[in-house]
Structure formats: structure tokens, C-alpha cells
Amino acid sequence: MSTTSTPSLPAAAVPGRSIAAWWQAAPFTLVFALFFIIPLALIVMVSFWDFNEYELLPGFTFKNYVSIFAGCGDASEGLCVTLKTYYSTLKFSVLVWLITLVIGFTVAYFLAFHVRSSGMQTLLFVLCTIPFWTSNVIRMISWVPLLGRNGLVNQTLMGMNLVETPIEWLLFSDFSVVLAFVHLYTMFMIVPIFNSMMRIDRSLIEAASDSGASGWQTLWNVIVPLSRTGIIIGSIFVLTIVMGDFVTIGVMGGQQIASVGKIIQVQTSYLQFPLAAANAVILLAVVLMIIWGLTRLVDIRKEL
């Protein structure tokens, strides 16, 4: 928008990067290689190894990948375990994504456009982060006595004579899992969306209103497109976290709901590392595909 940036900058940065630039990038490259690239390469390597009860057998075999998809070709048996697990994991991801998006957008909108003083904005924003002062697991477990068969919610409902027998689906169900996820991860939506909303030029909204746009039209045609970066970043956070999560699904689902992460955990605890590695590689591929799809919608580098 502004024309103050020097036009010579991109031209100078692209061809013939100086040695200094490489040096500047080196520390992070090193950290990245050491703690991400190398471990990842090892996981990919191990996923092609064979194993027995107590040791890994170096070699090259597709056995692990084949056994993950065993039975998936046979439609008469219904979905195979792997597809069923991915379906269940994806279902949670999409549900949680939708709900956190709506809540996150609303909260961010309120903070950005309705709260006038910046002091109040900061205060309310900090208020949003307070739940993060306690650990994830504790915030999650605190739902259990609330939602249980003899929990607070059921006791209240029964005390008010609204229900006769305790509601069973409140705990250890899809409902409780989604609830906990939304509780835990809405913040990851609020922050990036709020951030991009704060950068929207307020005169654009005045212009929209001057041109006769209704509140909804302004929201849909001005604010949503301009918050797109925040929405996409928040979505990437939420989707990737939920895809890999197994603790929340375990605790809130009564260990009865499958997730890809849980399968990997069970396999590692039985020393089936190659199988777990193969599963991890597949999970990574799926998550990368989701992120790739999302980044097609917006050029994050340009928007930042």
C-alpha cells in the first residue's frame, strides 16, 4: 500500500546473496538440521526397517506400510483400522476447526473493533491467556468431575428436575473430546486473527460504510478477506495440533476413541518402532498436504 519502501531492495536481495547473509542464516539452519531434518530422516529410515519383539533389524522392507493398510482394499469388511482412525481424527479436526474459527473470529472481532481503548484491549487480551497459566492436562482433567455421571452438570440438571437419569454422553464421548479441544485451542485462533484485524486500515471500514454497505456486507467483503492470513495461520495451528493429539482424545474419550497419535504411542510402547515410524511418516504426509492446501489459499509470506 505504502510507496515508501525502497524499490531497489528486492532487486539487491535476490541475486548473489552475500556471504554475510549465509552466515546469518547458519545458526538457525544448524538448529533446524540437527533437531528436525536429521531426526525426521531417521524416522523415515526406520520406517523401512524390520523388527522383532526386542530389536530393530536394519534393512529395507515395505512390510510396515503394507501392514498399516492391511485390509483397506477389502470394502466388504467396512473401513480398515487405519482409514477408520484417520476418518475419526479428521472428523475431530474439522469439527474443532469450525468451532474454534467461529469463536476465535468473534472474540478477535470484539477485541479489535468494539473495544476502543488500547489499554482495555491489552487487558482483555491478557485475560484470554490466563487459562494458559495452568497445564493443558489439568485444564482437561478438570472437565471430568464436571461432566461425569455424578458430576456437577448432571447433579444440577437432576436437581432442577430437567432430566430424570444422568446424561451419559457428556463424558467419554465425541462431545467431551470436542469440548476439551475447543477449550484448549481457541486461543490459537484468537491470536493470529486478532493480529491481522489490528492491521486493517480503519478508513477502509469507514469507506465501506460511506458507500452504503451494511454491517454484514462490511464484515463479509472487507474484514473477512483482510483477516485471511490470520484465519489461515490459526487454522494451521488448530488442524495440525488436533491431528497429532492423543492425550486429549484419550482422557476425554475414556481411551475408547482411536486417534493416529494413540496408535503410534501404543506401537512405540510395544517396541514396534518401525511400524510407529511408518505411521508417523504417513501422518506427517497427511498434515503436510493439509497445510499445503491451506497455503494455496493465501500467500503467507506476502501477507506477513
Binding site: Y54, K84, Q256, T268, Y270
Partner: protein
Amino acid sequence: MSDASRADSPVVVPEATGVARRSLLKGTAGILAAGMFPAVHSQEKIVLRYLGTAVNQDKAIAEKFKADTGIEIQYVAVTTDDVTKRAVTAPNSFDLIDTEYFSLKKIVPTGNLKGIDTKRIKNADKITTLFTTGMVAGKAVGDQGTAPKKVIYLEGEKSKKFATAPTQFMSLIPTVYNADTLGIRPDLIKRPINSWAELLNAEFKGKAAILNIPSIGIMDAAMVVEAMGIYKYPDKGNMTKKEIDLTIKTLIEAKKQGQFRALWKDFNESVNLMASGEVVIQSMWSPAVTAVRTKGIACNFQPLKEGYRAWAAGFGLPTTLSGRKLDGAYEFINWFLDGWAGAYLNRQGYYSAVLETAKSKMEAYEWAYWMEGKPATQDIKSPNGDVLAKAGAVRDGGSYESRMGGIACWNAIMDENNYMVQKWNEFVAA
């Protein structure tokens, strides 16, 4: 007398200074021995890293052992599955392992465990025959699954193989064991329960739970399958692929009909499920039942007509252990079998490996209640003083002989373990 007076007056008797210095040195040695110079004393200190599950890692045991010997026990608490994983992948991360006999099939072939020299174990001969020969009171008990007698002896100190006949080297020195069964809430069920089949009874739909440690959970499931009359296994602890399919299929059908409220993996989870009334019947561990009871909630460790699923844990030593730490570990094992710890465990509802020494540390009325199945002549208290049973109560499952004599199978690692875990994941995903 004369020595002291000489030492007191070195100036008068000059040649006595040497004596005075010597007595001063002696005094210093005494102070050192009494532990009054902490900096010097800390070099002497042995710390044993004790790897095991939280259930067996009692603070009181470590404290008493430290008070008796000065050796410190540092607990490293992980889940049952993780104990095995650590033993196989990181044998240097502990000095003493407390694991179950069924895990040995995975650990021993790696060579990470050192055979324990029974010559250095004072009470080795007194270890109950359940472990050495598989007998209780002269009668053989069920040996389906990984019965300790199949894996307790090694061919040598550095052997990776189990011995078929008793040798000088043990893989694990047994510490605690018990026979598990279903736990129930009698106040919420309100009728007698006497068969494993009740776990899948539709009457308890949405109120049952099962253990989510595949190698143990599948054994419970097998007990249920047999009790329901669906199939009789030649060996529940070593199923064929077809038998695994059948067992898991039974579980999946029950799950699809909403039988299970939750699956549990950890001691505390099972206590919470039961105490909160989310679950009224579930496979359970004896101390978990005790834990529910100490909250003042009725809970039975219900004897069932098909028998029990037994388990046993013991102490093992990593191959890398040597020198003073090794001596310390042997000292701990000897101390453990010497009675105090055994009595402590017996009072929690476990059984100790050497009954004789434990008996000597228990009151006669306690022994009669816990081990002989007799009605309590006075209130029975847990080691920390909570009342577990009122006078007149009888222990669930009766005497040691009727409980341990009623073993149907042992926790196991099957030959088809990998397949079993895969099918178990299918059950969880169903």
C-alpha cells in the same frame, strides 16, 4: 582412666602427645562414621535408581530402607509398557528394575539383565514354591501364559536364555504378586457376581471398563470368552492368530453395543472410574480396590468361579551394574525379602515372596485376616492407618491358598504379540 588423664595433660607428660593425637584421630573417625561431616559422608552415599510402575514405588519403603542402611532409593515411575521399553532401549538409565515376569520374554534376549546370584540372596531358599515350582500348598496351579516358573531361571549370569531347570541364577527375584479378578461396586450392582462373563453382561451396558494394556487386557478378555462359553483356549497366554481374532471380535461387538464406559491404563484411572461411579464393574488391581475402599466407598475384589489372572513382579539388575552400586542393589533385595517390606505389602493386599519373614513382622490377627482367610478379630488397618476392614470382616477371595491356588492363567507375552497389538488397536478404533 590412666590413658584419659595422660591425654588430658599432655604438657605434664610430653611423650604422651602422640597418644593424644591418636585419640583425636579416633574421635574424628567416630564423627565421620556418625555422619556428622556431610561433605565427606556424601561420597559414601549410594543412590539406586529404581525403575518401575508407580504402584510398587512406595515412599515408606524407600524411607525405611534408607533409615536401615543409609542407601537412598530414587524412584523412576513409568507405566508397565514403558518399564519394558526402558529396559530394552536404555539399560543404563536405572540401577534396579522392578518389572513383571511376562515382560522378561522381551528383556532377557537383549542381554540387558544380569542373572542374580542366588548365593548372595540370604532368603533365596525361602522364596515361595509358586515361583520355583509352580505349586501352592503342594498343588500345582494354572500355568497358562508366562508363569514365573518358566522364566525365573537363567542358564548363567550373562545368559540371554531361560533355563529349563533351576540354576544358581535368577532373572528376577520375586517381590510382589497377586491374582487379579474383577472389581465391582456392590452398592450399585446389588446382586451377587460370580463369573467373568458378567463383564460383558448387557445389564452393565455403559458401566463396564477393561484394561487398556493389550497384553493384560487380552487375558481378561479371554477369561470372559471362556466364561461365556464361546471358546475354550488351549493356552490363553499364547493364542493363535485365529484365537486372537475371535477374542477381539467379541470385544468389538460388545464395544459397538456401548458396553464400555472407558478403558483404563493406569492405576489411578481405575480408582477414579470406580470411585466416581462412572463404572460399576471392571478388571481391576487389588491395591486399586483398597484405594477405593479407603475413600469409604464399597468395592469388592470379586472372586469368580473361573479363577484368577495372576501376575508377579520382581527385582532385576541391569548388566552394566557393578561395584558398590551392585552391592547396594543386592543389599536392597536382601532387605526387601527380610520381612519388613513383605509385611508392609501383605497389609496392602499384595503377597510377599518370602512368607516366613513377613509373618514374623505381622501381628497374629493381621496374618490370620490377610493370609489365612479368617474373620478379622479387630479392625484391619492399611500401613498408613486407614481402616480397610471392620472386625468380623473376611478378606475377598479367602486365604492365600484358596486365592493363589485358584490361578487360571498368568499375564503373558504371546508369540503372536505383534499381531495381537495390531488387533487391539482395531478394538480401540472400533
